[in-house]
Amino acid sequence: MNAHKIVCKSHLLKLLWTSGRSDRIKRLHGVCGRAPFSSCSPKVCIVGAGPAGFYTAQHLIKSRQDVEVDIYERLPVPFGLVRFGVAPDHPEVKNVINTFTQTAQHSRCSFYGNVNVGTDVSVKELQQAYHAVVLSYGAEGNRRMGVPGEDLAGVHAAKDFVGWYNGLPDNRKLHPDLSCETAVILGQGNVALDVARILLSPMDMLKKTDITQPALDLLAESRIRRVLIVGRRGPMQIACTIKEVREMVNLPDTRPEMVAADFKGIAEAVKEVPRPRKRLTELLLKTALDVPTEKEQEKRSKASRVWGFRFFRSPVEVLPAPDLSRAAAIRLAVNRLEGSGEGASAVPTGEVEDVPCGLVISSIGYKSLPIDPLLPFDSRKAIVPNTMGRVQKTAGVYCSGWLKTGPTGVIGTTMNNSFDTARALLEDMDSGALDVSSAKPGSQGVTPLLEKRGVKPVEFSDWEKIDNEEIKRGVAMGKPREKLLSVDEMLHVART
């Protein structure tokens, strides 16, 4: 990166010296973005500063020495779900922030936070300013259960609950009611397990993480002692992965409570399946059915909190308390399995079962939303229709991350997904399918528009001020950081 700067500088100096004095002065004033060498560089803009955005930027910058990338982000702070989705007690997963920071600090990369693409600037305006636009803004909506009572107090989307304990500004006023004894989580993916784990973790574990203080305070008062994690199908279709199940099994002061009948026939069926499914199922079987060791038995007898998977159950209604003010139970349809393996389906038997509970968390999937009516959007799959990351019927527009493939997968998945999109974009530059021969203004075509509209972007160095402030506050609390919780506060720190 520094070499690039030096080359450009020396090229510039040569230009200055070979022209006349008055020319030299003219060029000095017009240097940024107008000198011949930088106007030819391909300019790409990326919408969304989460893992997808950063990995796409990384691959582009690494692959071509002339490409300049600008990343626009709605919030003043970068990193998306790495900051707002990854559980507070999984700090090692957040290590990717280091590589993203290096990318953001690269001379050919710029971060523009606090810019909402769709309202502050349109995708069309971005297309005019850049050679290519990559949509990487993820999935900020969620799949609804679509059952009566879903909007009662006490029912939350897992996305909002996770956003709340992770300090997402939009979720800071959630104030979930944790005064009930039983919480029911619908869905059995890793997000569901994160929620269960955060609800049941001992305070002395949580208080050392970057969980927000308001969440910590509320969880300290929580009366929740039992968490059921409910899935439509059986143990062999569970969507979570073994690491997260092992964390639940090992969670201090808790004991598992499963229904033995749910595991009928599983010990036989597990013999024929691929290794990942086999190991996971074996762990479930062991936890549900094996006679515990003496040490484990002691742990279970002393445990004050209970967790368990419930299988073959689908939500059909959230039942209100007598005064109709809030959720008091969930009605679940009992299913049977048709077929086997990953493709098995849940078929209702007609039976239902009511489970009393005061907190219902629906963890059945995030969902992408369209940000511009002029862009194609597949509302059934909730993705931007694309072929290998090239948005259909829209030259010069690409997509990466969850917006491209749907909202599943971890950071590693998104990395590969984003590298693929970057490769498609580079291919198009090389082949001429994407015309980069004429100069484009890049951010110089956007920042005047933003200024006119009263939008002041947050630069990466401003984020670093926020970062330092959060770390400083964290030190005082014995935590890695204490996150700023509102956009206003973030902007205030960014501007000082």
Binding site: V93, G189, M205
Partner: protein, 176 residues
């Protein structure tokens, strides 16, 4: 200096929340490294037992494009350290920086080398479960330490650094 050490120096705050993980593979013997349990996360202290910079150990990497890269690391360096220190061109390698939270440092070893490395802890097996193109001689690069017995070993970068926790039609949720 190992990549992990360098990162810690560059960003000392990482010490709080992240770790260097080492198996005691230096002698090829199965041993559990010293660790402390912090609630659920099993943390391994950046133990000095693997850090002995006397000898260099030569290893060969076969990259995804078939290219053979001959390089070396200090005894005790993990294969992840070697990739980072020697700046080997393997995009996305070691995303979680050696903390057993991903499978992007997945490597395929020769049978003899794999066999002599011995016991694999559950946490590594759990992450290997999710590695794309898993084989009978697969290991995570961050958990394999260089030792004399690895001198001249050849390791293969699998075809796609790809975690198995990915999209499928059921719309199953996942977190990172």
């Amino acid at each position: 200096m190992s990549a992990a050490r360098r990162l810690l120096r560059f960003n000392p705050r990482l010490l709080q929340s992240r770790t260097n993980k080492r198996t005691a593979a230096v002698t090829g013997a199965a041993a559990t490294p010293p660790h402390t349990s912090v609630g659920n996360a099993v943390l391994f202290s950046g133990s000095a037992q693997c850090r002995r910079p006397e000898g260099r150990v030569t290893v060969h990497f076969i990259n995804r494009d078939g290219q053979k890269i001959t390089t070396s690391g200090a005894e005790g360096d993990s294969l992840l350290d070697v990739v980072v220190d020697q700046k080997l061109d393997i995009p996305g390698y070691g995303a979680c920086e050696g903390t057993l939270a991903c499978s992007t440092c997945h490597l395929i070893l020769e049978q003899e080398v794999y066999d002599q490395l011995g016991h694999i802890i559950d946490e590594e097996q759990d992450m290997l479960d999710l590695a794309y193109g898993l084989t009978e001689t697969s290991r995570l690069g961050c958990q394999v330490c260089l030792s004399r017995s690895l001198e001249g070993a050849t390791v293969r970068v699998p075809a796609g650094l790809f975690d198995m926790r990915r999209a499928d039609s059921s719309g199953s949720s996942s977190s990172a």
